[in-house]
């Protein structure tokens, strides 16, 4: 582990705010956290007496459960709030909801929201640490961290690794966080998607942009597939599911263009037969379920470090 033992900010709003040393610190810490998950008693007292609120304004299964499990394994007290049946449906604003929760003195708030910048709004008005669990089409930093942890685990490094990210680039917070993290850590990133779903200026973020999946797969160490939401299929973005799979679906033939030891990733939830063929998703190069397992360890690392890391031990 490097000299760094703490994160500079008390919030994790995005990869954009993290320096490479901080990213390394989180990934190194996650190694120790992963070990906790292999014990028969999967619990450490690091966050004992701390309260974490999981504030999910958008439907989420894996991210919410992953955070909950990470919090529990660190012995934090947790409470969750989802939009359905809450004050939000009664018209309460985001800031008022946050202030109401703050009045109960939590230490951290994990927030998922459909609007880009929602975590920034909370960071401006809250005393608690804010962890962004996905804000609109902006960032999903813990997803990028768990992806990096997975790549590093398989490839032993991030620098120089060729990563192809393929799918709906425009609407993906996973893309943005991964591009920021991977380019910062020296990986080579190729982004591939239909021309209607490529955000303006993506090429200026240090990535190669292409509309050819064959070109993207060529020589790749990592193939990261992004979800294409069904609603994009009815608008003016894409003509049909059928054509999307024909042009951009990851098939065994396309996978063969990548390096022989290439890994296949997907942040989930998958659309089988849309962005990825089932035999690839379930094949031996797929690390999709490892990503889920690693998510808990990486989120434990983030929670632990934001709570003060070693400074907190024995407090």
């Amino acid at each position: 582990m490097g000299d760094l033992t703490m994160l500079r900010s008390r919030h994790l709003l995005g990869i954009e705010d993290l320096e490479p040393a901080e990213i390394s610190l989180i990934l190194d810490t996650a190694v120790a956290m992963k070990e906790v998950g292999t014990r028969s008693i999967k619990k450490v007292p690091a966050l004992r007496g701390r309260t974490v609120v999981n504030l999910f304004f958008e439907p989420s299964t894996r991210t919410r459960l992953s955070f909950e499990l990470a919090e529990k394994r660190l012995s934090a007290d947790t409470m969750g709030m989802t939009t359905a049946g809450s004050s939000v449906v009664k018209g309460e604003t985001l800031i008022d909801t946050a202030r109401t929760l703050e009045a109960m003195s939590p230490d951290m708030i994990v927030v998922r929201h459909a609007c880009s910048g929602a975590a920034h709004v909370l960071a401006r008005v809250c005393r608690s640490s804010i962890i962004n669990a996905g804000d609109g089409t902006h960032e999903h930093p813990t997803q990028a961290l768990l992806d990096a942890f997975t790549i590093q685990g398989r490839k032993g490094r991030l620098a120089g690794v060729r990563v192809a990210i393929i799918g709906d680039l425009a609407h993906s917070r996973v893309l943005r966080s991964n591009v920021l993290l991977l380019t910062r850590m020296g990986a080579e990133v190729v982004a591939c998607g239909p021309a209607t779903l490529i955000p303006v200026g993506l090429g200026r973020m240090g990535v190669t942009v292409t509309t050819s999946i064959d070109e993207a797969c060529e020589g790749a160490d990592v193939l990261m597939m992004l979800r294409v939401q069904h609603e994009r299929m009815h608008g003016l973005f894409l003509p049909s599911v059928r054509e999307y799979f024909t042009l951009f679906g990851l098939t065994a033939a396309r996978l063969a263009r990548a390096k022989s030891d290439a890994i296949v990733m997907h942040p989930g939830p998958m659309n089988r037969g849309v962005e990825i063929a089932s035999d690839v998703a379930d094949g031996n190069q797929s690390v999709i379920l490892d990503q889920v397992a690693n998510g808990v360890a990486v989120r434990m690392a983030v929670l632990y470090l934001l709570a003060g890391g070693e400074q907190n031990e024995g407090a």
Partner: protein, 435 residues
């Protein structure tokens, strides 16, 4: 009652005047302009050295919000803000609730304005009933009641056919059609300029050509009909090009730019401050630069603020959910002086033309010049005054400005409407002489 303004730098581009002159005001009129005018029985105000005496500034694009949205602004608070910003007159947009689409509403606005007794108000009527883009309003009746132009501002005139008819019909009354240029399908639910910054922030973009495509449509229609189209709050370099080409062909097209579009770029939206969310959105540096080029080469006719007050509660939301718009009346002079005059991009006579003569010309208003026998609407400017913008101290009922805390130069020292001093800036040394 007579007042003699003695020894200010009088700048009146219409009269071709720029120098030390005295201005004698008699009642609500300018009686005489010249050197060494004898005081006689007039009250004498020695204009402090360096102060500029200009024809009253006119903001041709203001949202006063009354009737219907008095929690954002009232006509009285909006006009207090106007005179504090040095404006002796404002033209107010019809997107109130209800929309100013009939004479009765125009009359109500004028009645409220008269009660406030501050700046003059020139209402702008709607092109279509309810600004719904379907049926023309009674434009002749609106004209009769006091409207000086028509627009469906807040959105573009719905169809090319409606725009064509509006241009034709309004030309009978010598009224321009003011257009909020934006192709609705390209705008979609965009909230920021489509570019690298919005991409990084994950905000839905509004491409620059959403504006220019509509401007090109309207310029072609003005060419067809011989009508007059005025492009509101121009923001994109492509639109500037369209206006420049239209003018070269002799089309009756004019345009305005806001101080925020020649001052800020989309870099300002990093951090998701909703006070940087406006429509049209802050664009790229090349666009900002183009706006300055347009101000310099004369393609841009006027500077207008698009003063758009919103309650703090409405702005304290997620970026996607907050309304578009910022207040602008009280920051216009400092931004123009600091960003245009100080760097030497344009000179004072040009600035006065942009802020006073041009709006008067476009809307056919009295004023815009200091003529003997003309209205005594005068803005006295302290060009060297140091000002720090304080959102909380704004006269406007709403405080939604991205310029809070900015240190700028230049301020209105005093504002005179119809010979009456309606505002004196106590923060400017020497201004107390106008009290």
């Amino acid at each position: 009652m007579k007042t003699l303004l003695k020894g200010g730098r009088v700048i009146d581009p219409v009269a071709g005047r720029d120098g030390q002159f005295d201005v004698l005001i008699d009642g609500d009129r300018v009686a005489k302009i010249g050197k060494g005018i004898p005081a006689g029985d007039a009250r004498v105000i020695d204009v402090p050295a360096g102060f500029i005496v200009a024809p009253g500034l006119i903001d041709m694009h203001v949202h006063l919000r009354e009737p219907g949205q008095e929690h954002k602004e009232t006509i009285a608070t909006g006009l207090a803000s106007a005179v504090a910003g040095g404006f002796t007159a404002v033209a107010c947009m019809p997107n109130t609730s209800p929309v100013n689409d009939q004479a009765g509403i125009t009359q109500f606005i004028l009645k409220r304005a008269a009660e406030a007794g501050l700046a003059r108000v020139y209402p702008i009527g709607a092109v279509s009933i309810g600004s719904n883009g379907e049926q023309l309003t009674e434009i002749g009746d609106l004209r009769q009641a006091g409207c000086v132009a028509i627009t469906d501002d807040g959105k573009p005139v719905g169809t090319a056919l409606l725009m064509r008819r509006a241009l034709e019909y309004a030309s009978m009354f010598m009224m321009p059609v003011i257009e909020h240029c934006e192709d609705p399908s390209l705008k979609g639910d965009g909230v920021a300029h489509e570019g690298a910054v919005a991409s990084l922030l994950g905000l839905k973009g509004i491409p620059a050509c959403a504006e220019s495509i509509m401007a090109e449509r309207d310029i072609s229609l003005a060419e067809l009909t011989g009508g007059r189209v005025h492009i509101a709050h121009m923001s994109a370099r492509q639109t500037l090009r369209a206006v420049r080409d239209g003018k070269a062909r002799g089309v009756h097209v004019t345009c305005e730019v806001t101080p925020h579009h020649f001052t800020l770029t989309d870099e300002a939206i990093r951090g998701y401050d909703t006070n940087t969310k406006m429509n049209p959105p802050l664009r790229e540096e090349a666009d900002r630069q183009a706006m300055i080029d347009g101000l310099r080469d004369g393609t841009i006719d006027a500077i207008a603020t698009d003063h758009a007050p919103h309650h703090a509660d409405e702005k304290a939301l997620e970026f996607d959910k907050a309304p578009f718009g910022i207040v602008g009346l009280e920051t216009a002079i400092p931004l123009c002086v600091s960003r245009l005059i100080e760097p030497g991009l344009i000179d004072w006579p040009r600035l006065i033309d942009l802020l006073s003569a041009a709006p008067a010309r476009i809307l056919g208003l009295p004023g815009g010049t200091l003529a003997e026998g003309g209205p005594a609407d005068i803005t006295v400017i302290a060009p060297a005054a140091a000002v720090t913008v304080r959102a909380a101290a704004l006269r406007s009922k709403s405080k939604n400005t991205p310029f809070d805390g900015w240190a700028l130069k230049g301020a209105a020292a005093a504002t005179i409407v119809g010979g009456r001093v309606v505002f004196v800036n106590d923060a400017v040394a020497g201004a107390e002489r106008f009290q």
